[in-house]
Symmetry: C2
Subunit: 447 residues, 2 copies
């Protein structure tokens, strides 16, 4: 932390432009430091709304903002697009494929991915929802399933095409199930001629004894009831034991059940990003079962006062006995805390340990239905939905004046339009090539 | 055209859900016929705004509407997702990979692609702009070029990264050049730290002696001046003779010029879709140099009163000496004409030959600048821009209440936000995988 002879400022390097990393950078905008934010993508993704891209209500662009434009006013901040392959705490270097970046303080905010609990073969058949590409792939699968069902004449195959299984009853699972149910029973109702989309089955498999276990039990109950009312089926205390050949096998108590489904989505389990392992290897810090880095009360890494981990990559267990949940507000507050700590430390001052202010949790189930848990205040139904909407507008506009997006979203939602129901991607491209082949000779003779 | 014993209605089959096919279907919504619309994509694309996706202003979902939802109220219309591999005019069948569809009347509206004039190797290095995937790929290239320039220290390589060449000075080329110039000189101005985006070069190569040759000369002049004012460079009477290793070689008079550029975009030449060739093979109809089917005055195929071609796949040369231009209004009017002809024919009546009503042409150059040619009325600058906006709002809302999109678009435009500057796609996915590798042993020893 000694300023160089050439009057170089304190160098803060942040890895990851999600909520944790971005809010660290934003909170350092006016500090007397140079900030380098490294991300492999050029945009920040508003992940809480990613399921809406996966189900065709919003476009990827609606929930993404270029990191450069969010930070363009922060003249002390540089955005670097690229991959971090390693870090060296001794020389205080971040190693990228094409360069080495020196740091005085390092903030690791690389997030988490899904965990298939060792069954990595399920990844292909039951994709999770973390990236824009995931969302586009899931959107492709959902809408292609309806398209294929419209063409299918075999009733058994048609049933498999119209069956959607979501594994995991946390917020993402609940929101996906609600959105797909709404799609099938409302939005697409008039769109097909040979199938009745109301025959669709949406099944949510949850391991715990209730959905949204991080919320109060009464809200879990309300959420499950809303889902059932929409037409989805919620099955708790289940354990998926196999996914193969379009069949999900799960245990419920002693019973073994099988569901044949062409569209299986994964919303269970998390695993810290690979950066956590690198950090552990280089600093000797402990990781939890999900691979998350155990952080000190000030979010630093044990033995390294100038390395911090924030957001989903970190396990902060100093407040309650259990780690803080992997949600945006935690990452934001952690990022802002670390920025404050850095600013104060440069002025020779200290800060008290990090404390998360839990303003509540919320999940959207469908049109006019959400659940909100603010501790003493618990909302469900229409008012919860309005609250959900306002909170998301507030955070979206924070970084890109996206009020208009929320208006569009609300408009689409109320009119049940799904403007972004595009089936795009590799397979549709492959299909597009098929048509360029020449008519066969046989046909030529015939004509 | 004999109704079957089982009281089957007249079957109209439309291949292609672009402007031509979609407007044929819409105009048949209340006719006493069954309509089957076949497309390989599940959405209609508002192609006139595709360049805005390519340059990061709009998202693909903003300019796409699901065909099923546009036609959900047309209860006589069925949308079929799939590929047509052949047609048989004798048995009146359309052959798809998984089924055969019988028709009484066939409307071919399969559009056109770019033509590289026999230099198909240029396709990879100089992509054209026809599909959503094209737009996303071009967007990826444009924004990746700026990102790479920010990291590049070699001034020669940096110059190549900051040089954008657009081949073709029709509406798409002019609009792309204007949008990229605006991006470089305005939108991205504050976003980078190591490069000055105002050093960017945007070069438009046009074969004819002026840009927008289908408009009045005074508007071509206005468009070229607007482009130059924005900072783009317009070079007319040029002929590209090679594109290789990031170098565009072109002739201007007797001089040969070379431009080194990492981002070369193709907006020249058109070639009818492969369906035109199949149609020619099966019916013996003539095609023009661009592969377009020569149609009769009523848009039918010579010798086949129940087969029609509309839009970019057709060459209608009965009005002037030259074929009608490949623009949306022509396709729309042709589609509506054929629908009217079918409706009347079923009632034993006839219609006069097709006549295109040219309400004018328009092109957008940049913020507050467009050119509009309405024949007697010619607009340029701000009023042309407002006019351009109103026309596009009108047509967009026609099929999906997308007023909100245009508001968003205008908002982004006025605030110079580019919310959809996402770099996504295959390469970014490949990059994303890199980070998962383990630190090397060498590094492990070091730590």
């Amino acid at each position: 932390m000694v300023a160089s002879l050439y009057n170089q400022r304190h160098q803060v390097v942040i890895i990851g432009g999600g909520f944790g990393g971005l809010y660290t950078a934003k909170a350092l905008a006016k500090a007397d430091v140079d900030v380098t934010l490294i991300d492999k993508r050029n945009f920040h993704l508003f992940q809480p709304l990613l399921y809406q891209v996966a189900t065709g209500t919003l476009s990827p662009g609606d929930i993404s903002s270029p990191l450069r434009s969010i930070l363009s006013k922060s003249k002390n901040t540089k955005v670097l697009l690229g991959e971090v392959s390693d870090i060296d705490p001794k020389t205080q270097e971040v190693i990228m494929s094409d360069r080495i970046v020196k740091y005085d303080t390092l903030v690791v905010a690389t997030g988490a991915n899904h965990s298939y609990f060792g069954n990595d073969a399920w990844k292909e058949v039951a994709p999770g929802l973390k990236t824009v590409e995931d969302a586009i792939e899931i959107r492709r699968r959902i809408f292609s399933a309806f398209e294929a069902a419209e063409k299918e004449t075999d009733p058994v195959k048609r049933r498999a095409l119209l069956t959607f299984v979501i594994v995991g009853g946390g917020p993402t699972g609940v929101e996906l199930a609600g959105a797909i149910a709404e799609l099938a029973y409302k939005t697409l109702k008039e769109d097909f001629r040979d199938i009745d989309t109301s025959e669709t089955k949406v099944i949510l498999l949850q391991g715990a004894d209730r959905v949204l276990p991080s919320l109060a039990p009464q809200l879990s109950k309300a959420a499950a009831e809303s889902l059932e009312k929409l037409g989805a089926s919620v099955r708790t205390k289940t354990r998926v034991i196999n996914i193969e050949n379009n069949v999900v096998t799960y245990k419920q108590g002693d019973e073994i059940h099988k569901i044949t489904s062409k569209t299986i989505l994964w919303a269970a389990g998390i695993q810290a990003s690979p950066m956590a392992k690198i950090l552990a290897l280089r600093t000797g810090v402990e990781c939890d079962r999900s691979g998350r880095v155990m952080v000190e009360p000030d979010l630093s890494i044990k033995g390294y006062k100038n390395i911090f981990a924030v957001g989903d990559v970190a396990n902060f267990s100093h407040q309650n006995d259990k780690p803080l949940p992997g949600v945006a507000p935690v990452a934001i507050q952690e990022g802002e805390y670390v920025a404050k700590l850095i600013r104060r430390r440069l002025r020779g001052r200290s800060v008290p340990p990090f404390k998360y202010n839990d303003y509540g949790s919320l999940a959207m189930i469908g049109q006019n239905a959400a659940v909100v848990d603010l501790g003493p205040i618990k909302l469900q139904g229409f008012f919860a939905w309005i609250f959900w909407l306002l909170i998301h507008i507030y955070f979206l506009i924070e970084f890109d004046n996206k009020l208009i997006v929320m208006i569009q979203w609300a408009w689409n939602y109320l009119t049940r339009k799904r403007g972004s129901r595009l089936i795009t991607g590799q397979e549709s491209l492959a299909l597009a090539k098929v048509i360029t082949h020449q008519p066969t000779m046989e046909k030529t003779v015939k004509a």
